[in-house]
Symmetry: C2
Subunit: 134 residues, 2 copies
Amino acid sequence: MKNKGTRAERELLHMFWNNNWACIRVAGSGSMPLPSPDLIAGNKDNLLAIECKSIKNNSKNFQKEEIEQLTTFSDILGAEAIIAMRFDNIGWHFLNAKELPKNKNGNYTVTLKLSQSKGIKFEELIKQFKQLKL
Amino acid sequence: MKNKGTRAERELLHMFWNNNWACIRVAGSGSMPLPSPDLIAGNKDNLLAIECKSIKNNSKNFQKEEIEQLTTFSDILGAEAIIAMRFDNIGWHFLNAKELPKNKNGNYTVTLKLSQSKGIKFEELIKQFKQLKL
């Protein structure tokens, strides 16, 4: 599970570098004052704090706190909060964490369907970032 | 040596968080396309890529390549390239990596004297960043 997540982070990291964005993986968050994202990526015009999920199924639940921590971190850093979903055999979709629809219980569920209808692909993320709207 | 460096990075990381800046440690650079800085710190107005050195002596040599890699990374990310020097029993001084004076051999030497005369203290780094000039 951990290795799959790490592989996905590295894959995405290289995708950014291959498109002349800088990207780093954040070191273990154990000793951090605030839970941190998995990746930070940017170029002169954009800065993204990214939580990555690589999943086999078509749906992933997020606790309310996980999304709040990502958006709080991003607000302090001055970055956009991005959920990067990698679906097996389908690929990456990117969602604005601040515009995820909330479940009745306050948590979040990101499905493949939501990702396809409301998310954007990598090419759009890096080329037309301003269009990232749910 | 490694532990001392890690302790210094964590100390600086907490200094940023305590002043409402976000800061993260960069995960091991082994698999990175480009050598990466130790820390990335920022708030809404500033973004810093930081190489940390914690030393017992009053002088530290940097290879030309090390400084070039830091400034190249910073340019791609859109951050300022900062050398953070921690001298035992004296504390932190911060220098703009792009304005370090070059040795005749093309490398760099950052002394305590240079750090005190041309660097700035943490309080200045976070409050008056625009004044960071060698």
